[in-house]
Amino acid sequence: MSDSSTRLELVQLGCERDDRMLFSGLSLTARAGEIWQITGANGAGKTTLLRILVGLHGFFEGERRWWQPQWQQDLLYLGHQPGVREELNPLENLRYACALNHQAGDPMAALAAVGLRGFEDVPAAHLSAGQKRRVALARLWLQRKAVWVLDEPYTAIDQDGVAQLDAQMQQAAEAGSLVIYTSHHRVGDGVQRLHLENGRAEVVS
């Protein structure tokens, strides 16, 4: 590790999928307090890259080093799908996510923060796509984790929600979290950008 604030180091990371090189030779160092935006066309490998980072995809070349052996304790990963079961209401979904991830905090307050006050006990089957996404995003308003890995967090979110999410991500970074997300939306100035295209990965700041 190059310095104490380093959270993630990628060394010559490469991944091939379905007979196609998604990216190769990807090296970068991401530190606490930084926000990393990952861009690229559909199918460029953004989701696969995030899945490699959080340990869901294990077939890659090169190295991925987190800052501590027990990195999963302090990781918040929101996948491409919101992880919300339609049989359960937002509160039940959120409580299960917190129990699994040992994430402390007040679920009711978090749901209120993402604009779901009054929807706590509505079965998720009756919620819109944006509202389901908000149930997942509510975890960003609970106990803060050292690393956020968010796959397309802005999907189906309305304008107010986008601004609110921007603010929350910037706040987390200021408080010392590393935020990595995929989207074409830029959170703000000073965001590092990693672009995936035609099998290449370049950092464009």
């Binding site: 340990g55 294990g58 799908q81 992880g83 339609e86 299960y96 129990a99 699994l100």
Partner: protein, 222 residues
Amino acid sequence: MNTFRAALGRELLVLWRSPAEIINPLFFFVMVISLFPLAISPKPELLATVAPGVLWVAALLAVMLSLDGLFRRDQESGVLDMLLTAPVIPVVPVLAKLLAHWLLTGLPLVLISPLLGHMLQLPDGALGTVMLSLLLGTPALTIVGAIGAALTVGLNRGGILLAVLVLPLYIPVLIFGAGAVSAAAGGANVGGILAILGALLALTISLGPLAVSAGLKISSGN
């Protein structure tokens, strides 16, 4: 432990809110069994002879078919990814899921089995063994089947592939389960056979959940 309790509660709730998943295996069990008197012969002696096998094959198929969707909706909704990235070993939530699934789909089969055994003309003395053998056997079927469900979760191939993978693994449980009922119907002592079933259950409980977790990780791309 807290995680396990929370996960178990959640799994029970999810299943409870989709009653078809609980009721369909039960009806399948009853329906398949009612086919045999119609297809083979309603003669009591004949039915009593085939009853142990019929009961066990039907229960086995009911359990297997109920497992097809064990992880699918969790996978489609992204919950499975959350489960695999969480800072708990996946065995904990997996075990909760298996227990909940068995309680709501396997146990009802056990409870209704004496009635079906009676309809298949089994002697009353064997009905206790029917229940006991299924009580020991169905959890093992659930766990072993879940390994197949975990390995096929992302494949959208439905039940046939699962059956091809899992049915050969079900054979020991089937042999001793049906064997116990046959022995009981013949008036023999079944303690030894039930002990073997218990041993098979112990083996699947100790190794099965690990294999299920490993299967889920492999299916996710590891």
